[in-house]
Amino acid sequence: MTTKKRSTGLTAVCDAWQLVDIDVTASFPIRPYTAVMAEVAKRIANGQMKCEMVHAEGEHGQFSIAHGASMAGARATTGSSGVGLTYAAEVYSPIAGGRCPIQAVVGDRTLDPPGDFGSEHTDCLTMRDNGWIFGWAQDAQEALDNSLMYFRIGEDPDIMLPQIVAMDGYFVTHITQDYEVPDQDLVDRFLPPFKPKFRLDVNNPVIMGPQITPEMGPPLEWDRNVVMQRAKGKIVEVTEEFGRLFGRHYAPFVEEYMTEGAEMVFLLQGAHAVTCKSAVKYLREAGYPVGMLRLRWLRPFPDEALQAIASKFKVIGVIDTNTSYGAAGGGGVLLVETRAAISETPDKPIVQGFTSGLGGEVISHDEFFRMAEMMRKTLEAGQLVQSSTWVNFNDYV
């Protein structure tokens, strides 16, 4: 029986964690993700979830505890936001390289300095080089669904990678939305119990993570590269299986919205896509040949999926709700990744960058309209007018 529910993106992830019967979670408070742990704590206390919550000494401790639990064979989760994520950074590569498929939920948040509780993707993006798989959910339903799919992909014996279920702070973590909680039976069919390749077991004793010589490094890292690429196929497979079983069909990598006949498209990830879709409708009515691409995965970055559709368009306006000071192109991470992904695509579109939504600001309709106008100028010029535009700061219209 699916249950209709009205709650937040964080509660939705807790619903997913309850369905998959997590064994251990490690908590520590930081805005805006904290409520997920408070919800888990409540459900443990009232017997709804059979899980142990370890009150970690900080975010570095949280991820370390989840790592230990996973090495012992438990299905373990944790989560954080903002500087909590950057604090834990030491252990991201050990966890991914150790092939421990823990799941972290991230309610993204602007990095210090100084304190800013608002949403920004930078915190989670700093993890992107460490070998985790992750993407942004645009709403509570997708947060729940991503959590389920990510367990299935990450724990697959062919993959064995940790995953991050990311969502915009406040916009998805806190706003109450309608979503459906799937049936326990269906979830049990979709996700088998966690069976690691190795665990700490006195009856099958192993040594995990010994010191290696430099020449042992490359093969280990090649393996990590291979599995990250292999994850792309697994993502397609699992997303399709999810659609068949649960009736919600997601585009595996890139959601296209009103791209029929679009000459220019916004490319972004996460909850700002919701406003974007609304803006696109208005823009279309006003005669702008515009559509939207929403990235569902950041790692592995979907090169092939983007390459397959890129040449349909003449201009891609990548919207970065993050900062990467000094990055190539003067914008954010998505600008760099997108340009790199399609750099060799024949008839590739012009790619320009917009930085918007920083600090937790809403990207307003008006701002989408101005971005569309700037993209139209690019279309008319037939070439890049400005590589990177920080909306409201160096707009050229």
């Binding site: 390289g97 150790g98 390749k197 040594i207 993570g209 290696i212 042992m216 093969p219 393996d223």
Partner: protein
């Protein structure tokens, strides 16, 4: 010609040894070798217990002997022996 790399197991996870870790043989570190005088030995087993490398072997019948494959010649066994039954002999004195 591409360089070939050693096989590295999944996530650098290796099986535990059962008798010895022969991936790190250390007998060739020695510059002195312990030699025991079983006449003087009282089988107190202090040398056996305190060897960092578990390379002093004690057998009920045979008494004290040394695992020369791993013994580093640190000299702790001869040093702790309460009856001076163990001498450290220069490794070069031995033919093997």
């Amino acid at each position: 010609m591409a360089k070939s790399y050693p096989e590295v197991p999944f996530a650098a996870i290796v099986p535990c040894p059962t008798v010895e870790n022969d991936k790190m043989v250390t007998g060739n570190w020695r510059s002195v070798r312990p030699v025991v005088d079983m006449e003087a030995c009282t089988s107190c087993k202090l040398c056996w217990l305190l060897c960092p490398d578990a390379s002093v072997v004690y057998d009920e019948a045979e008494g004290i002997s040394f695992n020369l494959k791993y013994c580093k010649g640190c000299g702790i066994c001869s040093s702790v022996c309460p009856v001076d039954a163990i001498r450290d002999v220069p490794e070069l004195d031995f033919i093997d």
